[in-house]
């Protein structure tokens, strides 16, 4: 703003100010244009980046999130026997209420806990324990995560971790969590996990779900020789064998049985010898040589059944 002084000066000033105000107007216009332009650009960029960030956040939400259960003492992953159970097998949907109903794997889970209890009683610093993980294998279940956690708490389940997967990568998360045994009521899931080399058992079909004092594991002898090629199977048998040896021959809270459905005594002896070479001595052993499995299974009443045509 120019200040006015004398007339002559005013005349000069007027001329000068007229030229000056024109310059000012141009300057102002330019300034405004630049200002508007940069604002629009800034807003556009901001919107764009925000959207980009949200997309990344969404993708992160799609990936599996593994959550530790703070109520339960975490196990030493290097020495524990990690068991992942499909959530649907342990906690069934309830139409109402905050808490799920118990599923077919509930007694199995209690048996696993009982074994852990006995192990810790014998040796308070025992690290070879069952480390139980609950895993959701579909999006619907994944969305019920809060309710799953509260149900687990409600029943006092010793679950050390939850894997909330939407199903796409659940096998990857099993491998990441060093799972050695996978349990599910879905045949497709069991077959998929077996293919990736992790021992897995189908629940509820030929396995038992009534409460039991003893965890009963059944290995199908027919598959032992072939499965022995995989390091994961060898490691699993070795750990199971070591766990079994923590207890005496009689009155053990965990019992291992072997059943050969086909072939004769040669295959049966080979299966027993193979398991023993991996450090696992079975308690019970049955060689059916073609006899029907049903009646024997009804007496064995396994919680976990490994092998038997589900590879």
């Amino acid at each position: 703003m120019l200040l006015s002084s004398t007339n002559q000066e005013e005349e000069d000033d007027e001329v000068a100010s007229k030229g000056g105000s024109e310059l000012f107007a141009v300057r102002r216009a330019t300034f405004l244009t630049i200002f508007l332009f940069s604002s629009v650009t800034a807003v556009t960029f901001r919107v764009f980046f925000t959207r980009l960030r949200r997309q990344r956040v969404d993708r992160e939400a799609e990936m599996v999130s593994t959550v530790a259960n703070v109520d339960v003492k975490q196990k030493d992953a290097d020495h524990a026997l990690v068991v992942a159970i499909s959530c649907s097998a342990v906690l069934e949907d309830a139409d109402d209420g905050d808490v799920h109903r118990v599923g077919v794997a509930f007694p199995l889970l209690q048996a696993l806990q009982s074994v852990n209890r006995h192990l810790v009683e014998a040796n308070s610093s025992e690290s070879l324990l069952f480390d139980v993980l609950l895993i959701t294998t579909d999006e619907r279940r994944q969305r019920q995560s809060a309710r799953i956690v509260s149900s687990t708490k409600h029943y006092g389940l010793e679950v050390s971790r939850f894997c909330f997967s939407d199903g796409e990568d659940f096998v990857e998360s099993l491998l990441e969590n060093q799972v050695q045994l996978f349990l599910s009521t879905e045949p497709e899931e069991v077959a998929l996990v077996w293919q990736r080399g992790v021992p897995s058992s189908l629940l509820g079909h030929q396995t038992w779900s009534s409460p039991s004092e003893q965890l009963r594991v059944l290995l199908c002898g027919d598959d032992v020789i072939a499965a022995a090629a995989a390091e994961s199977a060898q490691r699993f048998w070795s750990q199971l064998g070591a766990m079994r040896r923590r207890f005496g021959v009689l009155g053990s809270p965990v019992s291992v049985a072997v059943m050969t459905a086909h072939g004769g005594r040669r295959g049966f002896a080979d299966a027993l010898a193979t398991l023993r070479s991996c450090g696992l001595n079975a308690d019970e052993a049955h060689c059916l040589a073609g006899a029907p499995r049903g009646p024997i299974l009804e007496l064995l009443r396994p919680h976990v059944l490994l092998g038997g045509g589900l590879r």
Partner: protein
């Protein structure tokens, strides 16, 4: 059965993994048949379905001699016992009291297979033992060593074998443990306790010979009760009065029946004289009087017995020594011991009123 590592039939199994037990069993049998067809030969005879066969369950202590191991168990406990077994895994056991019997069953089987190649009506032997699986390898090494045809095993690892006996449709259970034998009898399964005789007379390798006592073995113990309560005279009187009344059946009637069924298969092919199964009744009853009721009962049951020996109270030992059965069933330890003294493999059926008498005598 020759196992191949790559089998197209396995794919079929995978697809039906969600089906029921029964269906699954069928599909595996189909897989077996396909396997045989593909190979064009049968490596080993296919095992019969338990319900079609005459299933004999034998325990390790009667099939083989395991006295030394028993001592280790009794003196040092089960852990030491298992360790000992594993250590001696490559040492086969010696034959036990049931060994010649099992060999004779196999001889009958080969004759039956020649005449009826597709039939499942055969003897089926299952090793049923309390033992843990640790002992399995040694048992199989022993079976291989002696060339026995046993392909079915039931090692219960300390659990009761009774449920498994039923699952295997057992027709006869032989064990060294009297308690388990009693449990089996209580469940309606023919069973007997076997003992190792001091000496063993030689028995036929080609003809199976089975001898039975009458009362409380093939028949019920009702007459023995009369004899025990009221003496011999009352016993004779009772038998005469009830000559036309059938005796009730005893625990081993079913086994005799099963043997009879197999015998008829040989008769049907004209092999009556040459039959590899021969049955005997060796009873203290006398032919002229009390024996009549026994014979009438057997006839009414449609059971044939090849030789009936009525001893009228005479000792059984010498007679059995002449017969040379692979096994002789009696409910009284007195007779079992008498037979064993003369080299006959005798098995005790702990059934009926005689058991209390035995217990009292043992107490003395």
């Amino acid at each position: 059965m020759v196992k191949m590592s790559v089998e197209p039939v396995k794919v079929k199994e995978l697809q039906i993994c969600a089906s029921s037990n029964g269906e699954k069993g069928d599909s595996w049998e189909e897989a077996d048949e396909l396997q045989q067809d593909r190979l064009g030969l049968i490596a080993e005879p296919k095992q019969p379905k338990p319900e079609n066969a005459v299933t004999i369950a034998v325990s390790t202590r009667v099939l083989f001699r395991t006295e030394r191991e028993q001592k280790v168990f009794e003196r040092h406990g089960v852990e030491e016992y298992l360790r000992y077994q594993i250590e001696h895994e490559n040492e086969p056991f010696a034959p036990g009291p049931a060994f010649p019997f099992v060999k004779a069953l196999e001889a009958v089987n080969s004759r039956l297979r020649q005449l009826y190649p597709q039939s499942e009506e055969l003897f089926d032997i299952v090793l049923v033992t309390y033992n843990h699986a640790h002992v399995g390898v040694r048992l199989i090494n022993t079976i291989n060593h002696h060339n026995l045809f046993i392909e079915r095993f039931c090692m219960t690892g300390g659990s009761s074998p009774i449920g498994y006996l039923k699952a295997w449709h057992t027709n006869l259970y032989l064990s060294a443990d009297a308690e388990k034998v009693r449990e089996a009898l209580a469940e309606g399964i023919a069973a007997a306790t076997m003992f190792m005789p001091e000496k063993q007379t030689e028995v036929s390798a080609s003809q199976l010979r089975v001898a039975f006592d009458g009362d409380a073995v093939l028949f019920s113990d009702e007459s023995e009760r009369i004899f025990k309560a009221h003496g011999l005279d009352r016993f004779f009187e009772h038998e005469r009065e009830n000559e036309d009344t059938l005796l009730d059946h005893g625990p081993l009637k079913g086994f005799l029946e099963a043997l009879g069924k197999l015998q008829k298969k040989f008769y049907a092919k004209g092999q009556r004289l040459d039959c590899p199964i021969r049955t005997y009744l060796v009873t203290a009853r006398s032919a002229a009087s009390s024996g009549i009721r026994a014979l009438k009962t057997l006839r009414a049951w449609g059971l044939e017995i090849d030789e009936a020996l009525f001893l009228a109270g005479a000792p059984k030992g010498p007679m059995l020594e002449k017969i040379r059965p692979h096994i002789y069933f009696d409910d009284q330890m007195f007779h079992v011991e008498g037979a064993a003294e003369m080299g006959t493999v005798a098995a005790h059926v702990p059934y009926g009123v005689a058991q209390k008498r035995d217990a009292r005598q043992a107490g003395k």
